[in-house]
Amino acid sequence: MIPAKFDYHAPSTVDEALRLLSEAEDAKVLAGGQSLIPVLRLRLAAPEVIVDLGRIEELRGVREDGDALAVGAMTPHADMIADPLVREHAALVAEAAETIADPQVRHRGTFGGALVHADPAGDMPTTAVALGAEFLIAGTRGTRTVAAEDFFEDLFTTAVGEDELLTQVRIPKHTGWGSHYEKFVRVAQQWSIVAVAAALRIDGDSIAEARVALTNMGSTPVRATAVEQRLIGIAPVADAVREAVVDVAEGTHPPSDLNGDADYRRHLATVLTGRAVLAAAAG
């Protein structure tokens, strides 16, 4: 399968990329291409212009920026997984990134690409929501910052406009937190049927702070704030945790497909949240 024809640009700066996007009628941004290229091959999309961000060095890499990590949007998943800063301050992201697709895809696929793609079954959006990340979006008129809860608008839709670029993601440091990404799939390289991201700060024998978010339980990642509240102050033991998370799926609108119907997904979300929290507490 061969994509339809398109014009190709590989700018070397963000400004140049933004100029190309503002000039083009029907442009698509190519990040790692691991979702876009199959879509082009199947001709489910046939943009006239492709703007490839692969040559923009400034978009790559992870650095510390005060109480947050500043992650370049074009940082590949494999680099995120290996990055000592990510492992220390945002282990949840590294752990979830390890479950994305397969090693080859993780070599090419990028953190920002996965976020802007905003597949409801994607893993990165959930981790960003769980950790309360901020998104830096550049446009020809400057850069704006969007909070995680405002970034994901709908299925495959984010706050990034057609002539804008996600350039950086600021992930608040969660140093010393335990975290776990509990992903449920039928075969290894599958997209999440349901997944749960959990991060906990344990103080003494009980949970002091909690972050819980769900993958594929709606059109965008679902932050389970009520459950987070309920977890605070309890001991991370099986019975207490199960009780605290029992209605985590309440109010969610998961899809029904070949892998399970909505009821099953709600049930799974509950079971997996319990497991994720316990594993986060253990790790």
Binding site: Y8, D52, D102, P103, Q189
Partner: protein, 156 residues
């Protein structure tokens, strides 16, 4: 048409390609590197796996223009002076292939996995190969091959 300069299996090529040309098609049709094959259109099967600057990628999920300025190694670039690469030798020794269609991609990915983990357990090998489908072998001998190659220094 876009100008690209790519080094494939140690030889530099300079070509004008349509931007929509997939890397795998460039390898197969322009360079005659038909050892690398196409098995699917959704990036699932991994049969097209090659190395880009030493790391495994799916060459059907990459445009040739994205490889501009980079080094590509295919299954055809592994053997040196007629000597099979330890991973190729191990696949042969342990009967890790039947029809052989997935084999080039499987071998390329197996070499990559040893770079990260030179002494992988059975489960680690399986996880490292999660992006490569084989319909013939049930994977058992592939796992054995990777571990055999690991002992023989297959990461290089």
């Amino acid at each position: 048409m876009t100008q690209i300069n790519v080094t494939v299996d140690g030889i530099s090529y300079s070509d004008e390609v349509e931007p929509r040309t997939l890397l795998v098609h460039y390898l197969r049709e322009w360079l005659g590197k038909t050892g690398t094959v196409v098995g699917c259109d959704t990036s699932n099967c991994g049969a097209c796996t090659v190395h880009l600057d030493g790391r495994s990628v799916k060459s059907c999920t990459m445009l040739a223009v994205q490889a501009d300025g980079h080094q590509v190694t295919t299954i055809e670039g592994l053997a040196e002076n007629g000597q099979l690469h330890p991973m190729q030798q191990a696949f042969h020794e342990t009967h890790a292939l039947q029809c052989g269609f997935c084999t080039p991609g499987m071998i390329m990915q197996a070499i990559d996995l040893l770079k990260d983990n030179p002494d992988p357990s059975d489960d680690e090998v399986r996880l490292g190969l999660e992006g490569n489908l084989c319909r013939c072998t049930g994977y058992q001998n592939i796992v054995k091959a990777v571990q055999t190659a690991a002992k023989a220094g297959g990461a290089t």
